[in-house]
Amino acid sequence: MEYTQAGLRETEYEEIRRVLGREPNECELRIMGVMWSEHCSYKSTKNLLKLFPNNGDRVVLGPGENAGIIDLGDGLGAAFKAESHNHPSAVAPYQGAATGVGGIIRDILALGARPVASMDGLFFGEPSSSRTQSLASGIVHGVGGYGNAVGVPTVGGKTAYDPSYNENPLLNAFCIGLIPLDEIVSSRTARPGQAVVLLGSKTGRDGIAGAAFASVELSEDNKASRPSIQIGDPFGEKLLIEACLEMNEKKLIVSMQDMGAAGIISSSSEVAAKSGVGMILHFDKIPLRAENMEPWEIALSESQERMLLIVDRSYLHEVMEVAEKWELDCAEFGETVEGDEYTILFHGERAASLPATLIGDRCPLIPWPSRRPADLEKKWEFDVDDIPLPEDWNETLLSLLADPSLASKKRIYEQYDSMVQLNTVIGPGHPVSMLRIKGRDSLIAMTLDADPWKCSLDPFRGGAETVARTVRDLAVAGARAAGLTDCLNFPSPEVPEQYWVLEECVKGMAEACGAFDCPVVSGNVSLYNESPDGAILPTPVVGTVGIIPSIDAALSAGTWEEGDVLFLVGPCNPSLAGSRYLLSQGKLAGRPLPFYPEAEKDFVERALKTASAKAAHSGRALSGGGLAAALAKESMESGIGASISLSIPTRKDILLFGEGCARALYAVPMSRVPLFKVLWNGYPCIQLGRVGGERLSVEGAFSLTVSELLSKWRNG
């Protein structure tokens, strides 16, 4: 077999030969081809990811593990991670999405944490196309079908539409779990002489080389590659969760790893390499679902709902008992040994023998050439004077609210169980989702966001803005961001201009993370998101988690009360560049505003104080659709109108629809106005008007009843 057939590059093949001191056999070649694919090895991005800050006061576990963990205080941790499942969702939407949800849940479980909530990032093509409708329907059903059954609530997310996702939709799944810090299961703790155990479903041919599939562009050829698609069984996963947690509670396991991409080989070699042990695996002992499987197929199978356990032999019997109670297959199929040798035995023969540390760790990095796109400045050339003021403000606002990316996502999120486990204080449909922690005062706050349009116009600024949006949302809600996870969804890195965009996005995100002291604790990279029709927009998706010290320090959105005074905090000169307003008119142009670290940090501190001092009834950081969208959403959700006058020289469309900068809209009860003004003294802050009546009116612009707004926002 040629190394190219295994998907290896020449330098990679040479490196393998050099380390082995011999020719790899076919099984070894196939294993290395998958393990050194982009999806498993991060060979194009490892150096870039080093730019992210990973440390912080609250970080217990950073990148490189199944998920990151932050300290919630008093011995409890929150484990969270986001992961993409884009290619599978493009080819088989229901199963691709379902197994994406299942995979991220197992990542959390692998740390010993109970998964308590999910969020999802969905990026679809043109909403009117039947292709998009069928992909979207399949993906949404898949997310719900799996998450609902497995009993993990879907409490939030982000859904956006752009033609660049027509053939390559994105599904990013986020999951968070809770774990007592002294019960964290590590992949670094295996010792020689322990048993290697496979728990869960039988191993079949499904999903073989899925990781490799995720590492190339979608083409007509591989659209037919149905064997790459795994079938999800949420029922099996639910049993797996309960069994693993029971085993961990009883302290029966040394180490645990979920089987996702590249199944057995990836999970076992990772534990071996990280723990500094070797392994001897007997593939004849693995329960199989298909006949005549080759050892490389068994090694690479991506059959779902399986976990790898490392068990001290004295507990093997008890592990088997727990597995039997939950009616799960459980097989000891190998042992850990001294050294670095990772050996697969099959039918009495040595099928593969590789250094464990070679498999997952030592893929030569690829320094792709990077080139600033020549047309970047051209995209920035945009004269606001060429944009006429709206002729009919009412119509303009209504059509903005009906823009599918901004419109209500109720029809999607009502298909997800958002309440099971009884922790959901604020569920989907809000800027920030909040979970209570039973028996404690503090709340977990989280949000997931992306702004691919600003990233495409100026990747550095767009990357920073993406992070900033989540941090602002959390701060307004009363939560200090403690850490974030990201999915970097990009097209092929082999095009120098596309690599440059990726690089700049990461740099921008890293700058914002650093400024906010919000480390990246986990994440994944999904490259080659393109089809013959073209590349997707650069889409870094960020899921940020924060802590609210008590329910009293939480500030909700969409809770205006009659007589409240409305304030806009933040600069009055936002930008229409990459704004939802221009996008809804079909224009993607302009240069987004830069990231001002000092102003952003100032905003966060004031917003946190505003929430904890109960200085407002309702607050919402401005994002897509700017002030106008924020006013409309607050008004619709509160079921009450407001009268607003803008006595500012800025062009009204820019002030109302512009985006960027740390800005927020607050509704402040009359009695708290003096306090509010003190809290924001020294930061731009203007009084907009008063809450009341049935109409949302902005003097010299729109005036619409709440029900007119609602009908357009909900029904388009």
């Binding site: 609902n148 009993g151 029922f235 009502e414 309440m419 922790n423």
Partner: protein, 234 residues
């Protein structure tokens, strides 16, 4: 009042319902694994919780209804013991023939999860005695198969005997088609057997048992059960 919550593989509201009953009433609640063949001897109240027992494969609740513990559960019900099935538990009750009818896929063919208004139709059951007739309460729903169906004559008989305890309505108590989230016959959300000791309920009272998460109407539901039990000594 000692409560037993039956846990089937795939149940996912078992912990929630235990939390809600213990939190609302402070009474003893135990989990009972489906493979048991007897209930704890002092069991007064049995709950079949929501979830996706056996993955909802074949038909929702079908395999759970044939679980080893169900003989004891049915016997408990036949003796007049209090028995409640919530969501998947309701499906298990119809599959066990402990309640009439069947639950079909929602008419939208979509799973639906949201707060829902219910009108209390009967207060002469142990599950609703502390509500007032016609009162509108709010419990969330979360199901894919909640369309209650029954042949016409049986439906009429059910209505005539006052077997419908909760009906989907709007906030004013109107039970129009707009207020029907799944296409259930006559907006039916919850029914009791003739004897009045077995309730099947699609919405989740355990999700409305705390102010912080979903409201407190569910507490009245649990308190009704405790009070009826204490008075009636069932």
């Amino acid at each position: 009042m000692n409560t037993a919550v039956i846990v089937f593989p795939g149940s996912n509201c078992d912990q929630d319902v235990m939390h809600a009953v213990a939190g609302s009433l402070g009474t003893k609640v135990r989990a009972v694994w489906h493979k048991e063949t007897t209930l704890p001897e002092d069991t007064d109240f049995v709950i079949l919780p929501g979830g996706f027992s056996f993955g909802d494969y074949l038909r929702c609740g079908a395999m759970a209804a044939r679980s080893p513990i169900m003989k004891a559960v049915a016997e408990h019900g036949r003796r007049g013991g209090l028995l409640l099935g919530i969501c998947n538990g309701f499906q298990i009750l119809t599959e066990s023939r402990l309640l009439p009818g069947a639950l079909l896929p929602n008419r939208t063919l979509n799973f639906v999860c949201r707060p829902c208004f219910l009108r209390v139709e009967s207060v002469s059951t142990p599950f609703s005695s502390l509500f007032s007739k016609g009162q509108v309460v709010q419990f969330p729903i979360a199901h894919g198969d909640g369309l209650y169906t029954l042949p016409e004559e049986e439906l009429k008989a059910l209505e005539d005997r006052g077997g419908v305890v909760f009906r989907y309505s709007d906030s004013d108590g109107l039970t129009g088609d707009d207020a029907n989230p799944n296409g259930s016959a006559n907006n039916i959300a919850g029914i009791v057997n003739e004897r009045g000791n077995i309730l099947g309920l699609m919405p989740h009272p355990e999700r409305a048992s705390e102010a912080l998460t979903g409201g407190e109407d569910g507490r009245v539901f649990w308190q009704s059960i405790l009070e009826s039990f204490t008075k009636g000594g069932r």
